[in-house]
Symmetry: C3
Subunit: 338 residues, 3 copies
Amino acid sequence: MISLGELASQLDVELVGEASCNITAVATLQTAGPGQISFLANSRYRRYLTSTEASAVILRTEDRDACLGNALVSTNPYLTYARVATLLNPVARLAGSIHPSVVIEPTAEIDPDAAIAANCYIAADVSIGAGVQIGPGCVIGKGVCIAADSRLAANVSVADGVEIGQRVLIHPGVVIGSDGFGFAPDQGQWFKVPQLGSVIIGDDVEIGANTTIDRGALENTVIEEGVKLDNQLQIAHNVRIGAHTAIAGATAIAGSTTIGKRCQIGGAVGIVGHLTIVDDVHITAMSLVTGNITQSGLYSSGTPLAGNREWRKNAARFGQLDGMARRLRALEKQLKEK
Amino acid sequence: MISLGELASQLDVELVGEASCNITAVATLQTAGPGQISFLANSRYRRYLTSTEASAVILRTEDRDACLGNALVSTNPYLTYARVATLLNPVARLAGSIHPSVVIEPTAEIDPDAAIAANCYIAADVSIGAGVQIGPGCVIGKGVCIAADSRLAANVSVADGVEIGQRVLIHPGVVIGSDGFGFAPDQGQWFKVPQLGSVIIGDDVEIGANTTIDRGALENTVIEEGVKLDNQLQIAHNVRIGAHTAIAGATAIAGSTTIGKRCQIGGAVGIVGHLTIVDDVHITAMSLVTGNITQSGLYSSGTPLAGNREWRKNAARFGQLDGMARRLRALEKQLKEK
Amino acid sequence: MISLGELASQLDVELVGEASCNITAVATLQTAGPGQISFLANSRYRRYLTSTEASAVILRTEDRDACLGNALVSTNPYLTYARVATLLNPVARLAGSIHPSVVIEPTAEIDPDAAIAANCYIAADVSIGAGVQIGPGCVIGKGVCIAADSRLAANVSVADGVEIGQRVLIHPGVVIGSDGFGFAPDQGQWFKVPQLGSVIIGDDVEIGANTTIDRGALENTVIEEGVKLDNQLQIAHNVRIGAHTAIAGATAIAGSTTIGKRCQIGGAVGIVGHLTIVDDVHITAMSLVTGNITQSGLYSSGTPLAGNREWRKNAARFGQLDGMARRLRALEKQLKEK
């Protein structure tokens, strides 16, 4: 519980209304009740301001007059909401320090302020920093370093030698440091190329459930600081992702591709290998990237959804496109000559 | 082992032939031998009826005359086959009740008729119903409820507060209740938005291997009763999937999208966020859905596969399509004016 | 450490320079230092030969004169590099044999030369061959056979009855033998079809992190010898993948499809069910395959990436393609008649 006045002062936003009003939780405008604070980030939903039972609303200056009750006025209501929600919902710390069921090799160094839950395995030469929390069933490979205050949820697998920065958050089922997909052709068969690089995860990175990040072939796969990766991503060997880039679920990035800083990549995008994508590139969902992107901007590929019968007719014509273009050119020429 | 007569009476289908014939297993028409029962769901394969060594065949009335031996006549042979196969192959129960290696917090409530296999972790305030079976290596978070007769296979991770209905079947590697992908932009960086909702899984849901279902941001992610989810799906925060919808593998659904009842969604489909899709919508494999779907029916997107050389020529023309359309219009106008 | 002379003789390649030069590690041409060996597989990078500080370089005959120092001359430098890297980086064996935390059912048969790491579960009737290494947190289901020298990394789940060949390498989070996605429609609901087949993994297969391979419905899902599967793949029930085929990350293959030998399938490809693809087919990234492929060759689908504004204009015309084709034909006819 925190008072509106204290919230306003801690978050440095303007308070309109009762400073003494106590806030216990966040909620949406439609569902909030007494003691709850909500937010209006998009003026389109302003109509909910009159009916909401929230004790306070976080909103922009321009929506302030439409609000009948208490308000926190912010230039970025969604960010202010996120800060309030964080204050009201501190992350639960794992109970105890190291569960007796954890198997730890003798040369691992674990900060006394770290917590490790049941059934984990911590290999030799691992280094785990202060405030690190490792959930149940995680496997931490030989020589892995996990810096202060990082959190691993359940059943995470970190292979040998991976380096994880501070305040990194890793969701269940994530695999970091598995072998890259490297094989040399050998008379119709494949000879495995040892994957000798590692993975470096910068500070403040978040990695979604069941995402996989392969170790580099010779040099490292690198996820720079502040990168946010959603669930089910595939990041191949030697990929580098620039700081503060966000990538939505089920996107796959092939080997040795470099992605710039502050990019936003939609879900289910495919990016082939050995490309360079500059900073501040946005890519819409399910696009396929097969060449370098040298200018920031918004990029897309694909075809629009349609009823299947209509789609079949048009899709069949896709295979005739080059012919159609040539016939169109011929008609133009013919008409010009007449 | 069960006799044909007993099968016919239990499944309420017509028996043609020897009621006393004993059936021990199911098999395909091509591979079945004595004691095995097969099925013909598609008249296209009727030719196999003459050569099959199956002791009995499940088929439709219209295929009955083509069958030389014993038959069960059903209006839905595939369903009848599934029922027979279920009778002949009851699900094995886990041995014992709670394996001594399981770590259980004291406030967890576990029905004496539940079984929990080796190396699981059961957090505080968990409630596990009668007949529930949890495979090895599962992690069940704080306050999770799992209702009667649900089964979790190996290495499943269920985060805090998730509610799982009755007779739910969850395959290995599934993650339920991981944080949704929510971040507020903050001066070129991302500030994490706490994900405070949960996930509600209805009765009779099945969830395929390594599928991920994120918890809601403020309200819940909801999978209604009877939904069937294949492997490697990504279900983002606040998605709602209507009852009895089936979704094939590797499909990704972005945040806050609502999908209707009895939909059938192909594999590797991408559905962007904040959409509404009505009941009884079918979507073909690898389509991208970027707008609401307001009428039931079959939908598609994409382009057909072609030889790479031919494809390159046509794909290059895709980028000229708008120009081609304008030139076509100009030609039509010019010709009309002549 | 190994001398250049010994490398040349072991790998049967020509040595140019000092046989006594000792090699301790592999590295790229740009980063290599004394004691390290590098390789030049692509003449495009020949310029690095003059500046590299590598003690030796693996290269083709045609690049030999451009190399100032020691060289190993090979017809396939990448393959020779892979062999050298393998010699210099032998796979670490798991310490000890069976960790005391492992839970093993009494009827499992484990070769005394196998190693099983912490927190694994080995079910009844499992058979584990000589030299097999199983990483921490793996779950091996009833009756599973794992042949000699196979390695499973962390948190792998293998369901009942799966057969794994020799020298198979399985990365973390992989699931093998989960139920195929089979349901019979039953009055608007789904009735589960028991998945009674298994999965057979051939010798020398590699399976990437978090890939899923479902068991067959009645017969088996089969991955033939030498197949290389990248991360995050979805292989549905009754798929058969031919020997030495390689499939890149995030590709999904629907049920009962048969893929030939020595195919190369790009990442994020979708292949629908019940298809046959012949040997030696190559498919580019993110293509959708909806029909049989009866001739070897390179195949593609999809549309090229473009700036979003331009893409929107062209994508809108995709829905008019059939109409445009008809109008083009009409113009041609009209002009011919004039």
